[in-house]
């Protein structure tokens, strides 16, 4: 899995690409923690456009980003999940905790 980050004007976009399972989650969490620590963004967008697979490990990663942003009075949300990752998000009920935008302009 690859994580691309783009930062501008307080807003961090994390673009996750590939497959996010337990094997990938450990290093992904470390990478994302480091990016957030470095930039201290106000908003954090988790962009899943290019994520082809995730399991419940992906839910843990999203929850962690949500918690970290919440702890520093920022906001996090998910954008563009499709296919299999979208079905996992739906089954988990995570949209009760964090906003999920399926389509963005």
């Amino acid at each position: 899995m690859k994580i691309y980050s783009a930062y501008s004007d307080g807003r961090l976009r994390l673009n996750l690409e590939g497959e996010l399972d337990h094997h990938e989650a450990k290093s992904s969490l470390r990478t994302i923690d480091r990016i957030i620590d470095d930039l201290l963004p106000r908003d954090c967008i988790i962009d899943l456009s290019n994520l082809s697979f995730m399991d419940s490990s992906g839910i843990a990663v999203i929850m962690r980003v949500h918690k970290r942003m919440n702890d520093m009075c920022g906001k996090a949300w998910v954008e563009n999940p499709n296919g299999q990752p979208l079905r996992v998000l739906d089954a988990s009920g995570i949209d009760r905790v964090i906003r999920v935008y399926s389509k963005t302009e």
Partner: protein
């Protein structure tokens, strides 16, 4: 009836291997992309449970059997000889986890929602067997 059996070590790198192997076997049922995604997810969850929970501080063996039943149903059996689950009902509850911050506690919830049947048998100190079934309608519609 047809089946495959694979045996592998509880290394996290094998999670991707396990779901790819099952997906390749299930391909002969001509599943839709959605059905294939559901099966891969359920395999990923069950195998991850073995790696994280069954063998918490050692590398053990995981046995996986995938079978296509005569009625077109896919059956998956994932077995370990790990520590076992003390309270299966509790383990299956959403958000319950003993796995720490990198786990969400949603593994069984996702298996339950993606598969038609999920059965868990476990003996403390002896291991756990998870059996799951999913009917594959396939791209050609209902058989």
């Amino acid at each position: 009836m047809d089946y495959i059996k694979i045996e592998f070590l509880s290394l996290s790198a094998n999670e991707g291997f396990a779901r790819a192997a099952v997906a390749a076997f299930a391909a002969r049922l001509d599943p839709t992309l959605e059905e294939l995604g559901d099966i891969k997810t359920a395999v990923s969850e069950a195998v991850t449970n073995c790696i994280v929970h069954a063998y918490p501080d050692r590398i053990g063996t995981i046995w996986l059997r995938a079978a296509i039943r005569d009625d077109g149903e896919l059956e998956l059996v994932i077995r370990d000889k790990g520590v076992g689950i003390p309270d299966i009902d509790k383990a299956r509850q959403p958000m319950f986890t003993t796995g720490g911050e990198e786990r969400s506690g949603m593994g069984f919830t996702i298996m339950d929602s993606f598969m038609d049947m999920v059965r868990v048998r476990s003996t403390e100190g002896a291991g756990t067997t998870v059996t799951m079934r999913r009917r594959i309608a396939g791209r050609a519609g209902l058989r």
